[in-house]
Symmetry: D2
Subunit: 364 residues, 4 copies
Amino acid sequence: MPANSFGHILTLTTFGESHGPAIGCVLDGFPPGMAITPEEIRAELMRRATGQSRWTSQRKEAEDVQILSGVFEGKTTGSPIALLIYNTDAKSKDYSKIANQFRPGHADYTYHHKYGIRDYRGGGRSSARETAMRVAAGALAKKWLREKFGVEITGWLGQIGEEVCDERFDPAVIDTNPFFCPDASRIEALEDYMKRLWKSGDSVGALVKARATGVPVGLGAPVYAKLDGDLAAAMMSINATKGVEIGAGFRSVAQKGTEHRDEITPEGFESNHAGGVLGGISTGQPVECAVAFKPTSSLRLPGKTVDIHGGPVEIVTTGRHDPCVGIRAVPIVEAMLALVIMDHVLLHRAQCGDVGEQTPRIPG
Amino acid sequence: MPANSFGHILTLTTFGESHGPAIGCVLDGFPPGMAITPEEIRAELMRRATGQSRWTSQRKEAEDVQILSGVFEGKTTGSPIALLIYNTDAKSKDYSKIANQFRPGHADYTYHHKYGIRDYRGGGRSSARETAMRVAAGALAKKWLREKFGVEITGWLGQIGEEVCDERFDPAVIDTNPFFCPDASRIEALEDYMKRLWKSGDSVGALVKARATGVPVGLGAPVYAKLDGDLAAAMMSINATKGVEIGAGFRSVAQKGTEHRDEITPEGFESNHAGGVLGGISTGQPVECAVAFKPTSSLRLPGKTVDIHGGPVEIVTTGRHDPCVGIRAVPIVEAMLALVIMDHVLLHRAQCGDVGEQTPRIPG
Amino acid sequence: MPANSFGHILTLTTFGESHGPAIGCVLDGFPPGMAITPEEIRAELMRRATGQSRWTSQRKEAEDVQILSGVFEGKTTGSPIALLIYNTDAKSKDYSKIANQFRPGHADYTYHHKYGIRDYRGGGRSSARETAMRVAAGALAKKWLREKFGVEITGWLGQIGEEVCDERFDPAVIDTNPFFCPDASRIEALEDYMKRLWKSGDSVGALVKARATGVPVGLGAPVYAKLDGDLAAAMMSINATKGVEIGAGFRSVAQKGTEHRDEITPEGFESNHAGGVLGGISTGQPVECAVAFKPTSSLRLPGKTVDIHGGPVEIVTTGRHDPCVGIRAVPIVEAMLALVIMDHVLLHRAQCGDVGEQTPRIPG
Amino acid sequence: MPANSFGHILTLTTFGESHGPAIGCVLDGFPPGMAITPEEIRAELMRRATGQSRWTSQRKEAEDVQILSGVFEGKTTGSPIALLIYNTDAKSKDYSKIANQFRPGHADYTYHHKYGIRDYRGGGRSSARETAMRVAAGALAKKWLREKFGVEITGWLGQIGEEVCDERFDPAVIDTNPFFCPDASRIEALEDYMKRLWKSGDSVGALVKARATGVPVGLGAPVYAKLDGDLAAAMMSINATKGVEIGAGFRSVAQKGTEHRDEITPEGFESNHAGGVLGGISTGQPVECAVAFKPTSSLRLPGKTVDIHGGPVEIVTTGRHDPCVGIRAVPIVEAMLALVIMDHVLLHRAQCGDVGEQTPRIPG
């Protein structure tokens, strides 16, 4: 599998640098016959778009996505779907002064040592801009899963810094505020928190959660293509992630077996500590995961680093930067969740035939 | 990539069921010329072996591993290395009564619905017995990394239930006790804890940590073959895992950017919240991860479930079972860490030439 | 994809050396629920087995194949199917004298320069013994294709040296003679030919042909996983192959378009120069291919070569060797044809749903 | 591996339809630090370009290739290299009348039955236009191989119809005539032949040959990633191919072992029937292959076919079409040869370290 590709059957290959001519992707293996328009893709991109509020990066991105192939007369054809966005608002002059310095917490240092050459403008290939193409591709996967199985995918902000955001959970609230926060009563406090953070010049981490409902039982291919294994890989490939949980996650460590095991009755499972996955295969319960994002590394507060010759440098990152990259990761996490589940639908039917063909299921 | 295979260049394919004739693996892509004996592999297997203490499953496994191919006159040849262990102590009669029932927390339910047929004896393919082959293959990877770069890989038990195990950390202690606990002062308490747990009939989760030192800078292939992404996939593919962290992991959520970013001086990095990975590429610092294991699902305390016809059943799991599967996962986590890092050494030199060739590094 | 594996969904991984402890394979991605016995596999192996006549290598191979995993109570489970054959009749003493010499036409020279170490006994990994596992795996694929779609796969010897063998074609004759010759009137001449060849000490090449009937329309995944592209790779991976043709093959060079294009009428195609594949996708007509095998390189007639130090050596290969390796390649070509077609059935239904689901077909 | 991707380490993914907005590719895994300009790529594209002479399709293609990513300040960075060509001269109106008919010899019939939907304009995804991106990517591979090892890749027309073109071989002649013919004395005859063919309305097949010199010994990864196996797959994935040979190819069938085996002396190999590959690994001799192309299926001479409802239709293909698609396949075959060899250099050094590291070679 190429290093810039992801998936077994439904494969996403992305390309492009933050300040190069364009970013794009090729989504291969998509089934034929689904209607899709650039507008539907753009709608998902706008959710992720920087500049949607004052709390996130000020770069204006038209996100004018083009469908270059794989769609004919408005429908997918089974050929690879290429999507492209030109980088129209790339201010590369902002970055020239750090061409020879390694910003702490960034990939500057590692790209330099791996490749001996790097596109330093805006992080180049290591920029979170790459994730726009995941969201674009995810728009197709979401639609297919919804039409085919009624799968619904919902992501939200679970925590930012010490602020827990989802003690009350109303999915209708999530897209009404710039924080993807599902609790209307928390929004004002989050605004205050962000104002203070912005003023301080510092940044903070975030916890993003996501859930997929309506997932058929039986998805996932043991042993090394487990549904949860692939989800972990998908999430950990997003920029700035440091941890992934499925279901009870790290809370499992302190749980007893009698508490964790989800007992089953003829009416269905009595709990979902498993997060919808047992033995790497979906149970039919909601698939649930949580992803930890580290704080933004680009700060206007000075930090110590070295230049490419090893000499000490004090660095200050100017330019446009989110004080919390985790917020806009919500649609990215959703996209990866959709892509992984859809990929496993296809992989399942390769080996086992249509979903649900092997046996009737008990209630999920 | 086949579903039962893992890795880019160094690929591990495993096969076998808990109570079938044998388990085995094929390790392909291994470099030629390394000396290896069955005894070296067996030594690693013994660390994982069930039956090493009263706290783990009582199944006696000789772990009499055979090298079937890929080694000639004691040295690897570059051809695929097949390893095989016959299942000599498989008591399949223990399992016949649960042939038509789904043990809660196990993969019985999902395998049944995916495949319409399952080898119910001891969990069949979903048994943790599969992981023996990871440990066997990991023994080769560990040796190669040590000889080539001086990489040392150390795993330990970080927590079991509420009991934190690594407040003091002495690597020399880890292999002196049945808990892989690095703190000699905690061992008696752990024994008490396990006694009470055993008596109660319940089980508990565990946190396993691991670290690799001496890892060269520059390993990892953005964007979808990141070192940490592959580690996450590797760890989440181990039985009973529910979460994976790299470096500061979920603690990153509450961190500020000024705290998390690892500043750099001419003497090296000042901290390692990154866990040795930036932008998916190794920094040269220790690679550090933590893995959450859920409590054993096989319990002698009765639980509710259904049979394959959907009817209600009360289930009691008899037979030999660890009250904490996480403990013996320590060598498995080590093995996966070794396999991923070695795979990335090979992948790196494919694209970029020998490790360290692109540029001289600053101190790690 | 590991270098010793083949296939997209149905993946075959083989291991083992000619004179090592055993050869084996892992067949992953096989659908659950198909009945299979070791005897059925052995029947295919016996067709390939050396020693079936005086014209092929005299090595006695019990071909006592074991099914180590993936089959439970006589049926496939969807887990990886591991097959193993111990090398009981390996006379490694025969080979010690050529440990430091490169037999012309063999892989000795290239393995030595690639790996710096080689298992010289009987060619080690480069021995045609590896192909026994293809035949074993192919037995499962053949059965599945026959049961599912009525696909029948037939291979035969098309030519040996200058002797054309299939001017008359009676499939019932193929398995009645040691040459897989479909023309009963040619068998005596072939025996004479082989006697003279054996006496001369020389060897000769062969042309093997194969056909699959009943193949559904629509199999093949453009552009780089075309059905014919995968067939070419499959055939060229067999030992001693030097060429592959689909349909009219090299005769296409001299054909006019009006001759080659297979016109279509409401009753079906009027010819099959395409060999059952257009644009990389099956047409529903028979899939037809031909494979060229070079003459056996192991000869008792002396030849010039060098030793590992570059010094000149005259080499004479003693031991057991077919004067025409192509003959027993017939079941191997059949096996690869079956594996590729079955793999493409699975790949097709991943993306496009069940075979024939997209549209009704016209007569093939 | 995605179905529209090719390669192990150096992976080429192509997308785009003949008359869609654009065609493009992503070349992933390319080593960092090689200088490349769009002009260098364009030069290769022009060799393939239709419209280079009156004998090939009249479509004017500016081939204005853009480098969208992976190159910074004129050098490759190790990130995926995306190349794009907009389809500026696509006359889709020419094709509307055949929207519901299956052109014989084309992929219309098979795409329709596989996907249930197809972009019928100019063959859509099955058009040879896709191969432009192979040539573009091949330009980079050729340059890298030349700079790194002095590898030179030369393709030529070996035969067209019954006309043999390479009885005399002068590489300097190849690019001086529109037939890629290496024999200056044959060009006038070829012009006459093509004139008559054009007038007749018929088309003809072709034989394309290619050779790579300077290939290091040791490239190729047994068993299923053999150098020749990958070459066969690469060539058979080109549109209109029906056969592939390595070295002596189908002539091997009638050869004796004493003739075919390439004897070795301290001065090197005495012949090259192997075509530079033994046991799937390069010998250091020239890698040589030949590829059979079928005659163009688009003819203005009427042919029988059916429409999508199965009714009989007489079809006449108007529009711009080569009477011999094989001619312009020469640069495509070269490109695939370059991509496969470079991929195997990278794969080799992954497992075995730098080329030539394992052992010193004897003269090739």
